[in-house]
């Protein structure tokens, strides 16, 4: 079985994002980028399935600018076998693709790669849209199990049992493969790339395909126009400074006085 993992290049999780002077974009000049943390967990999960002998190949794919090569290399250094960059300048031209456009592109990658399992992060920490994975599953006509905290692929490779973290608790579902899952935080802790892993990554195949020239996508009808645009960013309204109290008794008195209890 082949596993396809999608990754997104996102600003580092600890980076403080600043709004650019135009108010419409973000100042990313000094911001380091990394693999979206949830996607890194997805890469790790795919590697574990392969190491358990239930998959032969882990392919990572991203849709983005040339610089996203760095994140593909990071995934290859972790142990993925092969990488695909569907390159587009749309992001750089300030016209980022919307979720459905990216989902359609990834559905075309599925069409050409024919994986048995697709693993994606449950959300991207930059735009927090929580959208693309279910869209991809729908476009592929596949079952999905989102927010997985446990994945067990059956020995015959035909089914997978997934535990999902949902609002009410933990849900268990069984999927007949091919299927798509999205990873939650508790499914694993991603490994660090080893030095030999980083050296090897540079020799692993990394295919760059222009979005405009990606055959399977045009056969599926292309991606159309972007219909979702960020028109401006705003800082959070300032929060009034709170007060420090000296004791639990004082705290109780204030809560009571403000009629909060």
């Amino acid at each position: 079985m082949k596993i396809l993992v999608t990754i997104k290049r996102t600003p580092h999780r600890d980076a403080r994002m600043r709004i650019a002077a135009d108010g419409k974009s973000l100042d990313t000049a000094d911001v380091p980028f990394e693999i979206n943390p949830f996607d890194e967990i997805a890469v790790e999960e795919a590697l574990r399935v392969k190491e358990a002998g239930q998959a032969e190949e882990v392919v990572v794919v991203t849709v983005g600018i040339e610089a996203a090569r760095d994140q593909l290399l990071a995934a290859l250094a972790m142990g993925a076998d092969r990488a695909i960059l569907i390159s587009t300048d749309a992001v750089a031209q300030d016209e980022p693709l919307d979720s459905l456009q990216i989902a359609k592109t990834l559905a075309a990658v599925i069409q050409s790669e024919k994986p048995g399992l697709v693993i994606m992060g449950k959300l991207a920490i930059d735009d927090e849209n929580w959208q693309i994975a279910p869209m991809v599953a729908e476009l592929a006509g596949w079952p999905q199990a989102a927010f997985a905290s446990k994945l067990e692929v059956a020995d015959d490779g035909k089914t997978a049992r997934v535990t999902r973290e949902v609002d009410a608790g933990l849900e268990q579902v069984e999927l007949t493969l091919p299927a798509l899952i999205t990873t939650d935080l508790r499914i694993n802790e991603p490994r660090y790339a080893s030095l030999p892993g980083i050296m090897k990554a540079k020799r692993k195949p990394l295919e760059v395909i222009s979005l405009e020239e990606f055959g399977p996508l045009s056969e599926m009808g292309g991606i159309g126009e972007s219909r979702v645009h960020t028109v401006s960013y705003q800082a959070l309204p300032p929060k009034e400074k709170g007060i420090l109290v000296d004791s639990a008794a004082e705290l109780a008195a204030i809560l009571k006085e403000r009629k909060l209890v």
């Binding site: 600003p11 403080r16 994002m17 709004i19 973000l26 919307d98 459905l100 449950k122 959300l123 920490i125 735009d127 927090e128 849209n129 929580w130 959208q131 693309i132 994975a133 279910p134 599953a137 729908e138 476009l139 079952p143 999905q144 199990a145 927010f147 905290s149 973290e165 949902v166 609002d167 009410a168 608790g169 933990l170 849900e171 268990q172 579902v173 069984e174 007949t176 935080l185 508790r186 219909r227 979702v228 645009h229 401006s232 960013y233 705003q234 800082a235 959070l236 929060k239 009034e240 709170g242 420090l244 109290v245 000296d246 004791s247 109780a252 008195a253 204030i254 809560l255 909060l260 209890v261």
Partner: protein, 328 residues
């Protein structure tokens, strides 16, 4: 031809009217007001018909209920099929629901099947007309707000439950209820629901509670949560926690407040022995009053707290329980 009408979807429907339901109605009303359109409700699942009368006082144009054997256990595939079956010929301008673990699972599938652009976790609708909608969302772990413009005749959107409310005040019209029949299969043959583990609790749900008592790593587990439960008992509060607490196995995942857990905005939020990582703040910063108790005066939680107490929770919380008890 698209109408200027709004459809709000509730699913799976519960037997009681929840905060997530009234938020969905409030969100739909806001959209309908901007569009000068009408507003319908679609209740999905085995409890839809039973729950429907509770939605009558909100004065929507019509309440539709849709139940089907394949909706008995929740799956994204079947719920997607039900929504699309109902909505595909109706040309609603705006289709919406509250962001929950279910809608985050099935609503993007609806968007893909119907080829309609989508906005998630909307905090406010800025403006809306025939082919343009401007919606405000939180991005970057709640540290920034983004105004997003969506073009086209139809939009799908989910809202944050903490940001919308609906009232029944002054509404005299009574919404008719219609049950939708659906014969064709909805379930995906390649997915089987097996079980759901829910922990029974006498406490209010996190997303329903007016008061929440949350604990972090500094609770040291059961020892600290036993103390927090005394405070929660006194205030009829829900118990919440941080990611670290769930990761340590001290509390189940459904108690987690934060970016990847629940988003809450109670009247009163106690953050006890919680340092205040941005991922936690993202889930509770809209709370009306935040009380922080932490022995580290440098803890970031104090930056967003309305009331702060620098103290060891193992001393301060029992004292607080006593003081509240004495004064009540």
């Amino acid at each position: 031809m698209t109408t200027q009408d709004v459809l709000v979807i509730v699913g799976p429907t519960a037997s009681t009217l929840r905060k997530i339901d009234t938020a969905a109605i409030g969100f739909g009303k806001r959209a309908a007001a901007l569009l000068s359109g009408e507003f319908d409700l679609l209740l999905l699942g085995p409890l839809a018909a039973e729950a429907a009368p509770q939605f009558i006082p909100f004065g929507v144009r019509k309440i539709y209920t849709l139940d089907h054997a394949d909706l008995a256990d929740y799956t994204a595939e079947a719920y997607t099929g039900a929504v699309v079956h109902f909505a595909k010929e109706k040309n609603y301008r705006f289709l919406s629901c509250t962001a929950t673990s279910a809608s985050r699972d099935f609503f993007p599938r609806v968007a893909a099947r119907m080829d309609i652009p989508m906005a998630s976790d909307v905090l406010e609708i800025d403006q809306m007309n025939g082919d343009q909608a401007q919606l405000i969302r939180a991005v970057f772990v709640g540290n920034l707000l983004a105004t997003v413009s969506i073009s086209g005749p139809q939009v799908l959107a989910t809202c944050r439950a903490s940001k919308f409310e609906a009232s029944t005040e002054g509404i005299t019209s009574k919404s008719p209820i219609e049950a939708i029949e659906l014969a064709s299969a909805l379930a995906c043959a390649d997915k089987k629901f097996i079980s759901i583990t829910e922990q029974a609790s006498d406490r209010p749900d996190l997303t329903e509670a007016e008061v929440i008592v949350s604990g972090g790593r500094g609770t040291r587990g059961t020892e600290g949560f036993q103390i927090l439960e005394q405070l929660a008992d006194q205030l009829d509060a829900a118990i919440g926690c941080t990611r670290a607490v769930v990761d340590s196995g001290w509390m189940p995942n459904e108690m987690q407040v934060g970016q990847t857990g629940k988003n809450v905005a109670p009247k009163l939020y106690f953050a006890v022995a919680i340092s205040g990582a941005i991922q936690h703040l993202a889930g509770m910063r809209s709370s009306k009053t935040v009380v922080a108790i932490n022995k580290d005066p440098e803890a970031p939680i104090f930056e967003i707290a309305d009331l702060g107490l620098v103290a060891d929770m193992f001393e301060a919380v029992p004292q607080l329980v006593k003081a509240l008890h004495a004064e009540n």
